[in-house]
Amino acid sequence: MPVETKPVALSNETEKNSCIAALHARAGLSGPVIAALGLFSLVVPLLPGEFPTIVGVEILILSLFAGSFNLIYGYMGQMSFGQGAFFGLGAYATALLCRWYQAGSTDIGYMQFFLALLLAIPVSALGALVVGFFLVRLTGIYFSILSMAFGELLFYIVFSWYSFTGGDDGIQGIYPPALLRDPHYYYYFTLAIVAVATFLLWRISRSPFGYTLRMLRDNQRRTAFVGVNIRWAMLLNFVLAGTFAGVAGALWGPFQRSVSPTLLGWMQSGSPVFMTLIGGADFFAGPFVGALIYTVLNAYVTRFTVFWPLTIGTIILIIVLFFPGGILSIIDGRLSRNRGSRDS
C-alpha cells in the first residue's frame, strides 16, 4: 500500500472530530480482532491432527514478523524491503548458539535453549542499528531501495560465509529441548512469547512514541518543527522493529529444525509486506489477520494446486485494486456504515 505523505489540514473542529472518531474506530476494531485471534489461538492445538498446530506455530511466528514490519510501514510510513534480514539474523543467532551447545548432537538443555533464543535480541537489534543508521537518512522510495540493498547484502554475507554460517546449505539439526519437540508444547511456548511481544507492540503503538511515529508518517516537516528528532525516532523504531523480527526468527529455526540463507532474502522480506497488505496496514491487528490468511493459504492451497503463486498473487491483486486498506478496512467500513445508519 503506498503511504503518501498526507498534509494534516484540520481546518475546523468538525474535521478534527471526525479524524479522532475514525482513529477510535480503528483502534476499537483491532481490540476485538486481537482478542478473537488470541482466543482462537488457545484452541488451535485441540483441532484434529498435528498439522493445524504446525501451521499455527507458523502463523504465530509470522504474525510477529508482520507486526514488526508494520511498525515501519503502517506507523512510520516507510516501506522496508529488508525486514527479512533481521528475521534471518535472529534465526541464525539462535541456530549458531544452539549448534554450539549441541556440539554435533541434537541435545540441548532448557537454559541453553533459552539463552540461544535471547541472543537473537541483541544480534538483530545491533543489525538493525547498523542498517538503520544509514536508512533513516532517507525516506520514500530511497528508503525502500536501500533497505532492500542492505537485506541482500546481509543475505550474501550469510550465503557466502561457509565456515561460520554453513553457506547455502544453512544449519540443520536445530532442535529445541525434549519437551518442546512436541509441536503442541512448542505451539504454546511460541504463543506465550508472541503474546508478550504483541502486548509490547501494542503498548508501543499506543505510547507517545507511537503517536510520534504517526506524526512522522503524516508530515515529517511539521514533526521536526515541533521539536522531534526525526532521525532518532526513526532509528529507534527501526531497531525496535528489527528486534521483534529477530525474536520471530529465533523461534523459527528450532521450529523448522533448520535455518537457511533464504530467511534473509528479499522473498522473505516480501512476505510481511503481503501479510500487512492483506490484513490492513492502518490497523494494529492488520498484519496478524494477514499472517493468518497468507499462511493458511500457503499451507493448504499447495495441497490442491501447483498454481499457488497464482492464487496468492490473485488475492493480493484483488485486495490492492479493490480493497487497498486490506480485509480489516472492509469490516471497518461496514461497521462504520451500520453505525452511520443507526445514527441517522
Binding site: G49, E50, F51, I54, E58, G104, S105, T106, Y156, F159, S160, Y162, G166, G167, D168, D169, G170, Q172, G173, R181, W252, Q256, R257, S258, S260, T262, L263, M267, A299, T302, R303, T305, V306, F307, W308, P309
Partner: protein, 438 residues
C-alpha cells in the same frame, strides 16, 4: 470429489501426457501426477491399504528444469508397479506431488504436510541440497523414508546422515573425484601443467571445487592451480570471468557450474572463443543439457553426468525406462539422468518391500541398507554405512552421433568411474563424519 470426478481428472491427465510436452502441460501433468497413480486404487477395491509416497520437487525456479522429467517418469514407474498390484502385489502406490519452491523452510513444511496429512511413508526428492537437508530433519523425526538423487551434497550421506535417507546418485564429492580420475588421465596424455577453476559460489559449487582441487593435488601434485574464480549463483554475465581465464592461459579450466548458469556460461565462453585454446573437462552435462543445448553446445568439451541412458542401453531396466518414456511422451523424448535415478529410487523401494515382505518403514529401511538392487545401470549395492548407492559417474567428450537428435558422450572414449572408487574410502571415515545422530 467423487470417484468419477477423480477418474475424469486422470483421463485428462493421460490426455495431457500424450500430447507434445510444453511448459504449460508439464505444470498441469505434474500437478495431476498423484491422481494418475490413484487409479488402480479404484480398480482394485480388494487391495490392501495404498502405499503413499510424497514427491517433493520444484516446479518453479531454477530447479524446475531438472525436475520436469522425474515428475513425468515417476507416475509411469508407479503405474508399472501398480499393474502388478502395487508393492508386494497388494499395496498400490499413490503419489502426492508438492512444489518445494527450492526453499528449505517450504520443503520442511511440505514434508510435514505430506507426512501428517497425506500419511506418506516415503518422500522422493528434492532438487536443492539445502532443501534436502531441511527435509532430512523432518523425515528423521517422523521416521519416514527419503529417497533422493538430484540433491547430492556429500553432507546428505555424511555429516547430515540419517538412516532413513537413501541416495540414488553420486554425491558432489564423488563426482568431483571422478573428474579428477579422468583429468589425471588427460594430464598424462596431453601434458597439461596449469589450470584454473570457476565455480558457483554456493555449497554445491564450493564442495565440488574443493574436492577436485584437493584430489588433483594428490593425484598430480606437479599440476599448478593458477587461480580460483567464483561466480554468484544466477550469474547472467560471465564476461569478466571468461576474460580473466583467457588472460591466465591455463591448459584447462575446471568448472563447478550447473543448471541455467552452466548454459549461460557455455554460450558466452563459446562466443568468446575460450574453448579454442583452453580445455574444459568436467563440466556438468546431464542428459537434460545435452538435449536442451543440442544446437549450441560446444562439441569436444569433456562433460560429466550421473546416469545417462545412452551409456546403459544394454541394461534391461534402462531399456524399460526409455521405452515407457518414449511411448508416453513421443519418439524424440528421452528420460534424463534425474528421471532415471528417481525411477531407480522407486524401483528400489519396490525391491526393498519385496525383500522385507512388508511395507513397514523400519523393515523396508533395514532391507534396503546394504542391499544389492537392480537399477538401470545394472545390479548395484547400497553402502551399509551411509545408504549411498554404489553408482558410477560418466565422463566423455561431447560428440554428435546418428542415433540421437542431440549430442552424447563419445561411446568410444567415455570414462566410467565406479562409485566405490571415489567415495569416502572406509566406513570408519564415514562414521567419523556422522556424529550428529550417532
Amino acid at each position: 470429489m467423487g470417484d468419477s470426478d477423480r477418474e475424469g481428472s486422470w483421463k485428462n491427465t493421460v490426455d495431457l501426457m500424450n500430447r507434445a510436452v510444453s511448459r504449460r502441460d508439464f505444470i498441469i501433468t505434474s500437478g495431476a501426477a498423484g491422481v494418475m497413480t490413484m487409479v488402480p486404487r479404484f480398480a482394485r477395491a480388494q487391495s490392501a491399504e495404498p502405499y503413499r509416497i510424497g514427491v517433493l520437487l520444484p516446479t518453479t525456479g531454477s530447479g524446475a528444469n531438472y525436475s520436469e522429467r522425474p515428475i513425468k517418469i515417476l507416475p509411469l514407474i508407479a503405474a508399472d508397479i501398480n499393474s502388478r498390484g502395487g508393492l508386494l502385489g497388494k499395496h498400490p502406490i499413490e503419489l502426492h506431488f508438492r512444489d518445494d519452491q527450492t526453499k528449505p523452510d517450504v520443503g520442511a513444511r511440505e514434508a510435514r504436510s505430506l507426512i501428517l496429512n497425506e500419511k506418506v511413508k516415503t518422500i522422493i526428492g528434492t532438487w536443492s541440497s539445502s532443501v534436502a537437508m531441511a527435509v532430512q530433519e523432518i523425515i528423521h523425526e517422523h521416521k519416514v523414508l527419503m529417497l533422493t538423487a538430484t540433491s547430492n551434497s556429500s553432507k546428505i550421506v555424511n555429516e547430515n546422515y540419517t538412516p532413513y535417507c537413501f541416495m540414488f546418485g553420486p554425491t558432489s564429492g564423488m563426482q568431483s573425484r571422478a573428474t579428477v580420475v579422468a583429468v589425471t588421465r588427460l594430464i598424462k596424455e596431453k601434458g597439461w601443467k596449469k589450470y584454473a577453476t570457476l565455480g558457483l559460489d554456493y555449497e554445491w559449487g564450493r564442495d565440488a571445487q574443493r574436492v577436485f582441487v584437493e584430489n588433483l593435488k594428490k593425484a598430480s601434485p606437479e599440476t599448478e592451480l593458477m587461480k580460483e574464480l567464483w561466480a554468484k549463483l544466477g550469474e547472467t554475465d560471465f564476461t569478466s570471468y571468461i576474460s580473466a581465464v583467457m588472460a591466465l592461459k591455463p591448459n584447462f579450466l575446471f568448472g563447478a557450474i550447473a543448471g541455467k548458469d552452466n548454459e549461460t556460461f557455455l554460450q558466452q565462453a563459446k562466443g568468446a572463443g575460450l574453448f579454442k585454446g583452453i580445455a574444459y573437462p568436467g563440466v556438468f552435462l546431464p542428459v537434460t543439457e545435452l538435449m536442451q543445448q543440442a544446437k549450441t553446445l560446444p562439441r569436444g568439451i569433456i562433460g560429466i553426468n550421473r546416469c545417462p541412458f545412452f551409456a546403459n542401453m544394454d541394461k534391461p531396466l534402462m531399456q524399460k525406462y526409455v521405452k515407457l518414456y518414449k511411448d508416453k511422451f513421443g519418439k524424440e523424448e528421452f528420460p534424463d539422468d534425474f528421471a532415471c535415478m528417481y525411477a531407480d529410487a522407486l524401483n528400489a523401494l519396490d525391491q526393498g518391500a519385496t525383500k522385507a515382505g512388508t511395507v513397514e518403514t523400519e523393515a523396508v529401511r533395514k532391507s534396503l541398507t546394504g542391499a544389492t538392487i537392480e537399477t538401470c545401470q545394472g545390479k548395484l549395492p547400497i553402502r551399509d554405512c551411509n545408504n549411498q548407492l554404489d553408482c558410477p559417474s560418466y565422463l566423455g567428450e561431447v560428440v554428435d552421433v546418428p542415433e540421437y537428435p542431440f549430442p552424447i558422450f563419445n561411446p568410444k572414449t567415455m570414462i566410467v568411474v565406479q562409485g566405490h572408487d571415489v567415495w569416502v574410502p572406509t566406513c570408519d571415515e564415514v562414521r567419523a563424519l556422522q556424529k550428529k545422530r550417532s
